[in-house]
Symmetry: C2
Subunit: 127 residues, 2 copies
DNA sequence: ATGTAAAGTGATAATTGTTATCAGTTTTGT
DNA sequence: ACAAAACTGATAACAATTATCACTTTACAT
């Protein structure tokens, strides 16, 4: 994989963002600064970085994919009210890979956990 | 929600199937028997049944959604080689909801776990 | 049993997120 | 500095899903 200026910008935009943006969202941010980038380039590079493990692709949240520069093993929570995505520590499912491999005999290469519910902020507002 | 003959047929087709079919797959099966059903009807009813908890919608597997008549809490594994979807027992992640709620203060309404890897059969073939 | 409002249907157009294409540009190693 | 490989922007194409709409079914009060 060669160096590319666009890929660097995309990665920085992803890393500097507290949220877990979609490709479209990154594209919107970049259009304001580097007004020449193409949406296809954003998709291409996010996928390329995801498949080489440099970033993480989060699927099964909404209808669109989201991306995460945090490649540490961790899970995600999406608030059904505000739509915000939060990180969940891996400790909530200890030894899950080993347990699953032992039980099934399958080889587990990756796993994802997605929680749905109401976040603290939205719970406060409800009262 | 009113009764509908189509919904009943769709549910039965889902329940009689060992696999975890997609909407398209159910549509194909039904076209052979009841040749009049519409793909839109299949989507409509699968989503309706999923959102009232009668069946389960599995997302984040491939690009399409799959459906499961087994509403018992359990997880899924998709084989990266043959594409087959397997059920995984909930015991691999004990007390995950309680742990996550305690740690975050969020209310968890649902959660999904998807494993990716190689199933036993495909592992045998590799050698 | 009948009338009517609500819910459901088939057919298909529209939408949406994503990927493919392709001519031109950038990067890389020699 | 040069050729091969990788990358890009612009946009067409694609695939899964949803919206639309005229019509049919269902439920239930009379």
């Amino acid at each position: 994989m060669n160096y590319s200026k666009q890929r660097e910008i995309i990665y920085k935009t992803l890393a500097d963002n507290v949220v877990h943006p979609s490709a479209e969202y990154i594209y919107e941010i970049l259009k304001k600064a580097d007004s020449k980038i193409s949406l296809a380039t954003v998709y291409r590079n996010l996928n390329k970085m995801a498949s080489c493990g440099h970033i993480k692709k989060i699927e099964g949240l909404e209808d669109r994919a989201h991306f995460d520069h945090n490649t540490f093993e961790h899970y995600h929570f999406i608030c059904e009210k505000c739509g915000k995505i939060y990180d969940i520590a891996k400790e909530v499912a200890p030894d899950i890979i080993k347990k699953t491999q032992d039980k099934t005999g399958f080889t587990i290469n990756s796993h994802d956990i997605v929680f749905h519910g109401i976040c603290l902020e939205c719970k406060k507002e409800e009262r």
